[in-house]
Amino acid sequence: MATYLEFIQQNEERDGVRFSWNVWPSSRLEATRMVVPLACLLTPLKERPDLPPVQYEPVLCSRPTCKAILNPLCQVDYRAKLWACNFCFQRNQFPPAYTGISEVNQPAELMPQFSTIEYVLQRGAQSPLIFLYVVDTCLEEDDLQALKESLQMSLSLLPPDALVGLITFGRMVQVHELSCEGISKSYVFRGTKDLTAKQIQDMLGLTKPAVPMQQARPGPPQEHPFVSSRFLQPVHKIDMNLTDLLGELQRDPWPVTQGKRPLRSTGVALSIAVGLLEGTFPNTGARIMLFTGGPPTQGPGMVVGDELKVPIRSWHDIEKDNARFMKKATKHYEMLANRTATNGHCIDIYACALDQTGLLEMKCCANLTGGHMVMGDSFNTSLFKQTFQRIFSKDFNGDFRMAFGATLEVKTSRELKVAGAIGPCVSLNVKGPCVSENELGVGGTNQWKICGLDPTSTLGIYFEVVNQHNAPVPQGGRGAIQFVTQYQHSSTQRRIRVTTIARNWADAQSQLRHIEAAFDQEAAAVLMARLGVFRAESEEGPDVLRWLDRQLIRLFMFHLRRSPFLQVFNNSPDESSYYRHHFARQDLTQSLIMIQPILYSYSFHGPPEPVLLDSSSILADRILLMDTFFQIVIYLGETIAQWRKAGYQDMPEYENFKHLLQAPLDDAQEILQARFPMPRYINTEHGGSQARFLLSKVNPSQTHNNLYAWGQETGAPILTDDVSLQVFMDHLKKLAVSSAC
């Protein structure tokens, strides 16, 4: 048997699962004492180039309350053609198609290497993907131009049969009709008036006249494209037309007087987008892509008034309960997000502006529907352009890295119950027998809807051991969990991915060492951090920190405490929302980077090496590369910067210096290429204003307070009153000792 480390890695690669504990304490009592809950990070659609989907449907357990899917852990009686469900122990007949099975002729789902398997469903009509662009026109001229170009470019990236629609907004909201030739036609709505889905459909002329209700309800999706063809058209048909339309798109023509913000009806625009899809394409894969360049300033969902002299709310205002529009706006967007989730659509938000754009209020739209959230300074930056392009990247099969309308169902064996999930999902409120009373994250259900997801979307799923102490698990017993993800593949196929895992039970008293050894510190850290962030979203900051401190102290927690996920100091409410959004959906590796940024050092002293995220690492003859997930910072030490200024890199005799300068750039480029969303790329040097990005992250082991104690030779002092890791640890030790008794 390999080490636990290998085991963990292997499991992650095969099943996309990382558990906090890989050997499970066998009773509730023991589990509670472990402090870190039994939980896992699940990446439901983890890319598996080695896993071709099977072209048939899964076999289900016949017990109506169970319906678990046949998996390698099931006991099979080949002779009687029976199988026993490993969750409810029901004995089931194989379906007729399986008559040929034997020990040597097994279907894939029974083979151990197919603990994760993907089925392609043949039934059900396939409906095309839908992309509905919702575009803010209250932008600066070059911003709008850049955005228009990006959008035009994106048409070439979309699947040719995908339906595409366009809504633009400013003071008014325009829904563009795409089919007409000659005159371009759009439906215009007042930006201040909230409309019900019914009203929107009436006004767009989408209500079908005189169709009996019974007929309309199970309405076959083939009928839909006909009805809404005016607003959503196959890309291949109208790409020329739409390119022209986008090209002619003007800035919002309504005059904006001095000292005012443009009137921006984001709330109504989104509402109309949601209403449009709701009426015409419920439960099909659709992305509403909102591109906005500023805060909503009128109508439902407005975040700030149009008077420039009144700044947009800050954390300070929110704490003082001074954010006039926040609650109402949040409510509006939550209502929209919930409706969108119910319809199985997702909302992306691309917010590019120097000031805040109301992400705090709008975050639920992306969070609950599995949409993307991208924040940048301008649409005219590579950050936006490349990020947006990356949305449409394809996998090894040439399929888009996106899936829609997924339902994740979690089944557990009897000793376990599901406590909740944290990630881009909403509860489906299915209270099966394996649902725990206690909730961690979004709980009270064992099914969640994930309207939009990609191969890296990761959920934290929390469990509760319910086995009583006095009913021990039989020796060698294993607990099992099955994750069933039904989704619409980007090729419009309906698919089901099933992952079934099992872990050993161990008695905490006798086998504590096993349990300890099987602890996955990284997973646990991220899972705890997710819980923390989840709480931070709903509770006051300091309370969460206290809770976290009470729960568990580990090294990484120093950085987590300082991270923007829990700290709001120095961040706008929008930035906090943005950071938290990504934290709640990235996989383990990325999450760890977010919590504790990585710092590489490049120097003439040796090959590039990771160094401590500490101010002592900032040296004059080093180039530093820091990756915080959201930012890539290249920092030239003082001497290096002087050299570069002197132009040594251009002299043939100093070619090695040129290489040294180039090395971090290349590495950064590699990260930039791979990451979504594209990080902010910062190239700075000692004393540069942008150096603050680095200085704010490193452990302030040297500050202006203790500078002279450390001597002036090494590192750079950080001007902060924050405690350093050293002080934090000292304090911790004291605490740990005092509270142990």
Partner: protein, 900 residues
């Protein structure tokens, strides 16, 4: 334009000498002029000579002139019944009998007014009020018109003298402005006002002025001069705010002036100072229009503008119904095609190359489509607004554009509109949201303007201002009849009010196939100074010419926008009531979102104090408006009237046409609130009181059997009868509720000439070389002749059954009467003198009227003849309207009752 020799100035007649008159014949020219009456009081002609006619001394009644002279002048009234004037035999129940004896002896040396007067006479037989044996003298309107033309048509009308009665509206004359406004701008019911309210009450003669502030002038007359008083703005009286005018008295060597309206003494600003000559007149009086003319304009300063900002040039918005009906009838295609060229002829001012007016386009059915026609676009863009409950304008930039800049985009749009909706199946329309949208668009663009609405059907789609079909003929002649004239919802009034505040005038073109509730739909046009045009059952083939002609005229005509009119008067009388297409939010200011050269405002005055005979009474009408080029201006009209202490002076200076204009408007407004019968009775009573008062106070004692009418009012009964039997007050079976509402609102802003011909149509026989009109009565029709009949709205060509075949051939290009298509609306273009003459005549008739009159050819004894006969107003009508003679008898009865 009379064909017979003009007898010269009226003044040249010896007193008592009358020009010939043969009202019974209608062929005036046939009779040689003859002296028909002896000079004194022998105004009664011998029965054989036809109705005597006094020269109508309508000339100025100059101060100092008048009553002093011996009373050789004509009696104000006489009463000899000329047998020739008998009504057609059909209306006589008794035998005509011999002419009754003359009653000249009844004219003693009573103080007679000298002004030309006349004396119709009704002689009642022994049977009391029965028609038997009644002889009455029904005056001929035609004759009066011809006389006035002959007497007054040749000399210009010089306005320098106070209280002059101008020539009739039917007379062509030139006006020379010498200090009073031209009668084209203002006409009064009387040019001599009683000094006291008691007198006025006694006479019951309404004191009203019919004002047409932007009236078009013939090319020979100069339009008002524009005066610029610089930054300080027009000079006004400090107290009553009257504008500087020729009647202001400069005193103290020119340093001050006394206001002619309120007598307040004001300082003359230094820059306006000028010395006075020995007569007390400023030496620059003739250099300054405001000191020497009756009508002129001031340039307004920024103080006279909304929000203290000079206005932007106005805009025209074309709003086109594209529902199924509009598409199917071909209207949309026709209209779009026409607009392409029509947009080159938007009104412009002075010598400007290009009109300053911007245009915008909206189409609609139950949703609205706005169009972005910005010049930089390759193609127009359509923006649909379906939120009709809460209308708004979806775009600002690109909606209102300059025609020449956006020419290509506009043409492309107009080409595409008919195509885009060619397959429409939408039959429902909205209406109020359309107006709302236009108004909001103007508001957003911060300008005044005009909406041209082309609408086809009752707006039944779910939206504000939604209407239901409430047409109910059973209500006619009930107390609820008035509801047919009232709008069905108050929403349109509210909307109109908003439009007026924005200076948004609405012109409505209706193309109904059935009831559309004109009464409600016309509320906004009515209150915003707009016009309504109605083309029932519109068919491109039949109605194209009429519609396009109206449209062209309507689009091209000069309009003043965002106007406020105020009428100021000398102390003693006050403007108390106003009639016309406008809105009033207080009791004095007439607010007109738009005002064109066809629209009139009738103003009624009442006494609130004594007037002074010496100083007379002054009217000053000030109209503040924005010109087509966006210039803010004030147009001022001044008129001085005489005042009298003798009722006879009042009666001698009245103008029946103007009276009828006022009375018709009064009655047509009355039907909104009272049963039609009450309105009719009120009219009759008032008329009887006016005439009875005259009889009692101004005429010599005479037998009660005599009907004595003042010269100036001798046509009052016949005109009044026409008003009473008009469609609004007495509808026939074929008249729809919409027609009545349509006519009702049309009449509200008609000027005197229009009401005149509208109520008493012109009937022209074609056989005469220069056809003088004949009386509108069937008995005037000869079955061997062809007649044209027009009333400003309708034009008929009546063909007698035994018209010569040659005539038929040369006019209709068919060989016989029976082959003429009944209802034909276009005469074939034939190269022969008759055809040319008739078509030329039709063209010239159309040119005189503000609306295009569609021709209908009616054959004698044909079905359509019923329609035609409706306009023969001297006859008894099918709907129960009295004939002229019957009405005269009735009126006489009423007067007798009042006198006894």
């Amino acid at each position: 334009s009379g064909s017979f020799p003009n007898p010269g100035l009226y003044g040249s007649y010896p007193q008592g000498q009358a020009p010939p008159l043969s009202q019974a014949q209608g062929h005036l020219g046939a009779q040689p002029p003859q002296r028909s009456a002896p000079p004194q009081a022998s105004t009664f002609t011998s029965p054989a000579s036809g109705g005597p006619r006094m020269p109508s001394m309508t000339g100025p009644f100059l101060p100092g002139q008048g009553f002093g002279g011996p009373s050789l002048s004509q009696p104000n009234h006489v009463s000899s019944p000329p047998p020739q004037a008998l009504p057609p035999g059909t209306q006589m129940t008794g035998p005509p009998g011999p002419p009754p004896p003359m009653h000249s002896s009844q004219q003693p040396g009573y103080q007679l007014q000298q002004n030309g007067e006349f004396f119709p006479k009704v002689r009642l037989g022994a049977k009391g009020f029965s028609y038997s044996g009644v002889f009455l003298f029904a005056f001929s309107i035609i004759q009066v018109i011809e006389d006035d033309r002959n007497n007054r048509g040749s000399e210009p009308f010089v306005t320098g003298v106070r209280g002059q009665v101008p020539p009739l509206v039917t007379t062509n004359f030139l006006v020379k402005d010498q200090g009073n406004a031209s009668p084209r701008y203002i006409r009064c019911t009387s040019y001599n006002i009683p000094c006291t309210s008691d007198m006025a009450k006694q006479a019951q003669v309404p004191l009203a002025a019919v004002i047409k502030p932007l009236a078009r002038l013939p090319p020979e007359e100069a339009s008002p001069y524009v005066v610029d008083h610089g930054e300080s703005g027009p000079l006004r009286c400090n107290r009553c705010k009257a504008y500087m005018c020729p009647f202001m008295q400069f005193i103290e060597g020119g340093r001050r002036f006394q206001c002619c309206f309120c007598s307040c003494i004001n300082d003359v600003p230094p820059q306006y100072f000028q010395h006075l000559d020995h007569t007390g007149k400023r030496v620059d009086a003739y250099d300054r229009p405001e000191l020497s003319l009756g009508s002129y304009e001031f340039l307004a300063t920024v103080d006279y503008c909304k929000n203290n900002k000079f206005p932007s040039p106005p805009a025209f918005i074309f709003m086109i119904d594209v529902s199924y009906n509009a598409i199917r009838s071909g209207l949309v295609r026709l209209l779009c095609e026409e607009l392409k060229s029509l947009l080159d002829f938007l009104p412009r001012e002075g010598g400007t190359e290009e009109s300053a007016i911007r245009v915008g386009f909206v189409t609609y059915n139950k949703v609205l489509h706005f169009y972005n026609v910005k010049s930089s676009l390759a193609q127009p863009q359509m923006m649909v607004v379906s939120d009709v409950a809460d209308m708004f304008v979806p775009l600002l930039d690109g909606f209102l554009v300059n025609v020449s800049e956006s020419r290509a985009v506009i043409t492309s749009l107009l080409d595409q509109i008919p195509e885009m909706f060619a397959d429409t199946r939408e039959t429902e329309t909205v209406f109020a949201p359309v107006i709302q949208a236009g108004m909001e668009a103007l508001k957003a663009a911060e300008c005044a303007g005009k909406l041209f609405l082309f609408h086809t059907s009752l707006p039944i789609a779910e939206a504000p201002g939604k209407l239901k079909n409430r047409d109910d003929r059973k209500l006619i002649n009930t107390d609820k009849e008035k509801t047919l004239f009232q709008p069905q919802t108050g929403a349109y009034q509210t909307l109109a009010k908003e439009c007026v505040a924005q200076g948004c005038c609405v012109d409505l073109f209706l193309f109904p196939n059935q009831y559309v509730d004109v009464a409600t739909l016309s509320v906004v046009p009515q209150l915003t100074g707009g016009s309504v045009y109605k083309y029932a059952c519109f068919q491109v083939e039949n109605d194209q010419e009429r519609f396009l002609s109206d449209l062209r005229r309507d689009v091209q005509k000069v309009v003043g926008f965002d106007a406020v009119m105020r009428v100021r008067t000398s102390t003693g009388i006050r403007a108390v009531d106003f009639f016309g297409a406008f809105y009033m939010s207080n009791t004095t200011d007439v607010e007109l979102a738009g005002l064109d050269g066809d629209k009139t405002v009738t103003v009624e005055f009442k006494h609130d104090d004594r007037l002074n005979e010496e100083s007379g009474a002054l009217l000053q009408c000030a109209l503040l408006y924005t010109s087509c080029a966006g210039q803010r201006r004030l147009r001022i009209h001044n008129l001085a009237l005489n005042c009298c202490t003798q009722l006879a002076d009042l009666y001698r200076n009245c103008e029946t046409d103007t009276l009828i204009n006022y009375m018709a408007k009064f009655a047509y407004r009355g039907v909104l609130n009272s049963p039609v019968k009450t309105v009719r009775d009120t009219l009759i009573t008032q008329c009887a009181q006016i005439l009875a008062c005259y009889r009692k106070n101004c005429a010599s004692p005479s037998s009660a059997g005599q009907l004595i009418l003042p010269e100036c009012m001798k046509l009052l009964p016949v005109y009044l009868n026409c008003v009473l039997k008009s469609d609004v007050l007495q509808p026939g079976a074929e008249v729809t509720t919409d027609d009545r509402a349509y006519v009702r609102q049309l009449v509200t802003s008609m000027d005197v000439a229009e009401t005149n011909v509208f109520f008493y149509p012109r009937l022209l026989p074609l056989s005469a070389t220069e056809p003088p009109a004949v009386r509108a009565s069937e008995e005037r029709l000869s079955n061997g002749d062809i007649y044209l009949l027009e009333n400003g709205l309708n034009l008929f060509l009546w063909v007698g059954a035994s018209v010569q075949q040659g005539v038929v051939q040369s006019l209709f290009n068919v060989s016989s009467f029976s082959q003429i298509t009944s209802g034909l609306s276009v005469l074939p273009v034939l190269d022969n003198p008759l055809s040319k003459k008739v078509r030329g005549l039709i063209d010239s008739l159309r040119a005189q009227r503000s609306r295009y009159m569609k021709l209908i050819v009616v054959k004698q004894e044909d079905k359509l003849e019923m329609l035609f006969k409706h306009f023969l107003v001297e006859d008894k009508s099918l709907s129960g309207g009295a004939s002229y003679v019957d009405f005269l008898c009735h009126m006489h009865k009423e007067i007798r009752q009042l006198l006894s």
